[in-house]
């Protein structure tokens, strides 16, 4: 395991999505890389992400979704974080975030417009997300 890097993440599967395995793998991968991880598990509401990020003073919120409804579930999350005084917090989303096969460039644009800093397509390996987290949070 890498040395703790002092950066705090809040992660979880948003909405009415019960896919429990992937988020455990992400938790493990992020911990191994030295992050302090609060895993909210599955079926996480927007308010839970916001509350957890406030109490833990998180550096990033990583939203996972596998059932295609993320576009509905994620709308308004950035605004709620803004309201809670977390305007600068890093916000990621990844997984099967839309229904059917859609052009990912378009999908990414839509989620960027919702205030997500990075958007990851299906089957992104944890290493890829880690790389960007470390880059965006200035972890050496």
């Amino acid at each position: 395991m890498a040395e703790e890097n002092g950066k705090k993440l809040v992660i979880g599967v948003i909405g009415a999505d019960v896919h429990a395995v992937g988020i455990r793998i992400l938790e493990y991968a992020f911990r191994q890389a030295g992050f302090d991880v609060t895993n909210l598990g599955v079926m996480v509401s927007q308010e839970e992400y916001v509350n957890a990020a406030v109490e833990t003073a998180a550096d990033a919120v990583v939203v996972s979704s596998l059932y295609g409804h993320a576009e509905l579930d994620c709308r308004g999350l950035r605004q709620k974080l803004d309201e809670a005084g977390l305007a600068d917090i890093l916000l990621y989303v990844g997984g099967n975030i839309v229904v059917g096969k859609q052009d990912f460039v378009e999908v990414e644009k839509r989620f960027r417009n919702m205030g997500f800093d990075r958007v990851f397509p299906p089957s992104t390996p944890p290493e890829e997300t880690l790389k960007w987290l470390e880059y965006d949070l200035g972890v050496q």
Binding site: V10, V42, E55
Partner: protein, 465 residues
């Protein structure tokens, strides 16, 4: 071995219970009005005289007490997010037997500070942020408290990373430091805080409550009454070193102004398919409904159920129920006499038990997901506990206590509320629970033996019937 005298200084009554250590039995009990405004010993001496006339003069090896006189242990708590650290602080204080004046969350406002200054708490519990988490809120709140004129005991149980700074800021308050009530997200750690609350109650608060005189009589134990009730119920449920308890239980105490509910039970989801959301709740849990009571707080019952519902429950027309409601809330000392009044009193007690037990128990909600139906539980699942203990005047003197107790069971009209499916009902007919909780501090075996003998088993009820 001789005898022990147990005193319960209540807001209205000072109750005495004498216990013989050698014959392991109750010797007798007596009660007189509490006289805390003048000198608490006047009422105590009066009760002593009565007790002596009943059981003759006794030599007491020890005199121990609990107290809720002079407003009980009044606490205010402040945390960060209402559902997280503020809720953790509230649960910690309730579990230590406190009466919670106010729960503040986020940064204290000018209005909050004015309230704190006006109604100075006996203890202020300051929390916020997980360890290593948010520190701005708790540091800011410490600074604001330091700007007040008032000084009162503060317990710090928030973000460890902000402790050094807060200790400096709060240096002229009597400050006690405890581990964070929520060290990591979703983890509760309340035991040390509760121990400190009880110890502050004993060493500092008693003087402010006009109990100093009485304290000289006592040989050690003095605890907040709700904390004694919790100890008694925990002992009754779990058993002592040599005797078995009666198993997981729920306790209900309906008073004139509040309704307390206790549960000594695990309450975690019983089914693998059920997901738990929200804060984990303590195994020994106490809730206090400040808006639910038989006299001072009828309004809360009406607000929750509606007058029509209450009228239906007592089989009276709505306008008649309204008249009775006005009579009961304006004449606090009323004792029901007519058939209608008795029906109204019974409906009130059932409603109080119904509402308070629902607020105490967890909830199970159905959620439709892409992979089918899923269940989400918040709070404690109490469906499988099988014992309910009734205490408090309204329940002890009730004509039909089983009917009232049934209002605490699972009900298909409120199917999401995870209340017991069936239970054996015990009644604290001799008002011994708080005294046994005090006795349990040193003589757990004896206290349990007496409870098992003296609590009245009034039968079994089921939500199916």
């Amino acid at each position: 071995m001789g005898a022990v005298l147990l005193i319960d200084f209540g807001s209205t009554w000072t109750k005495l219970t004498a216990v013989s250590l050698s014959s392991e039995a109750l010797l007798g009990s007596a009660a007189a009005f509490t006289t805390v405004e003048k000198d608490i010993n006047i009422g105590l001496q009066e009760a002593m005289k009565q007790l002596e006339s009943k059981i003759g003069p006794q030599e007491y090896d020890d005199i121990w007490a609990c107290s809720s006189a002079a407003g009980g242990l009044r606490m205010q708590v402040s945390g960060l997010v209402p559902e997280l650290t503020a809720e953790a602080a509230r649960m910690a204080a309730l579990g230590a037997g406190a009466k919670i004046d106010r729960v503040f969350s986020y940064e204290l406002t000018g209005q909050d500070l004015a309230r704190i200054e006006a109604d100075q708490p006996d203890i202020f519990l300051l929390v916020g942020g997980t360890d290593g988490g948010n520190r701005d809120c708790i540091v800011g709140n410490a600074e604001k408290l330091a700007g007040l004129e008032a000084r009162f005991p503060i317990i710090y149980a928030g973000n460890r990373s902000a402790l050094d700074e807060c200790e400096k800021i709060l240096s002229d308050f009597p400050l006690t430091v405890c581990p964070n009530v929520m060290p990591r997200f979703g983890e509760l750690q309340t035991e040390t805080v509760q121990k400190e609350i009880r110890s502050l109650f004993l060493t500092q608060i008693i003087e402010a409550k006009g109990l100093t005189e009485a304290k000289n009589l006592l040989s050690g134990i003095l605890m907040p009454t709700p904390s004694a009730m919790l100890s008694a119920m925990k002992l009754l449920a779990e058993g002592s070193r040599t005797q078995e308890g009666i198993g997981p239980l729920m306790g209900i105490d309906v008073g004139g102004a509040t309704t307390d509910v206790y549960s000594i039970a695990d309450g975690s989801p019983r089914d693998m398919q059920v997901m738990l959301k929200g804060l984990p709740e303590p195994y020994v849990k106490r809730t206090v409904e400040g808006d639910i009571g038989m006299r001072h707080c009828i309004d809360g019952i009406i607000a929750e159920l509606g007058l029509e519902n209450l009228a239906g429950r007592c089989g009276l027309p709505e306008d008649r129920a309204e008249e009775l409601y006005e009579r009961f809330s304006s004449k606090k000392e009323i004792i029901p006499e007519t058939g209608e009044e008795e029906a109204f009193e019974l409906a009130l007690a059932m409603a109080a038990v119904d509402v308070a037990s629902q607020r105490h128990s967890g909830k199970l909600q159905e959620v439709y997901t892409s992979t089918g139906l899923a269940y989400v539980q918040t709070g404690k699942d109490l469906r499988s506990l099988e014992q309910i203990v009734l205490s408090g005047g309204a329940l002890i003197h009730a004509g039909d206590p089983l009917k009232i107790a049934k209002a605490a069971l699972y009900n298909s009209a409120a199917p999401t509320s995870l209340r017991p499916l069936r239970a054996r009902i015990w009644r604290d007919s001799k008002y011994i629970l708080s005294a046994m909780g005090v006795l349990a501090e040193k003589e757990a075996d004896l206290a349990l033996k007496i409870m098992k003998r003296e609590l009245e088993d009034i039968g079994e009820i089921s939500s199916q019937e």
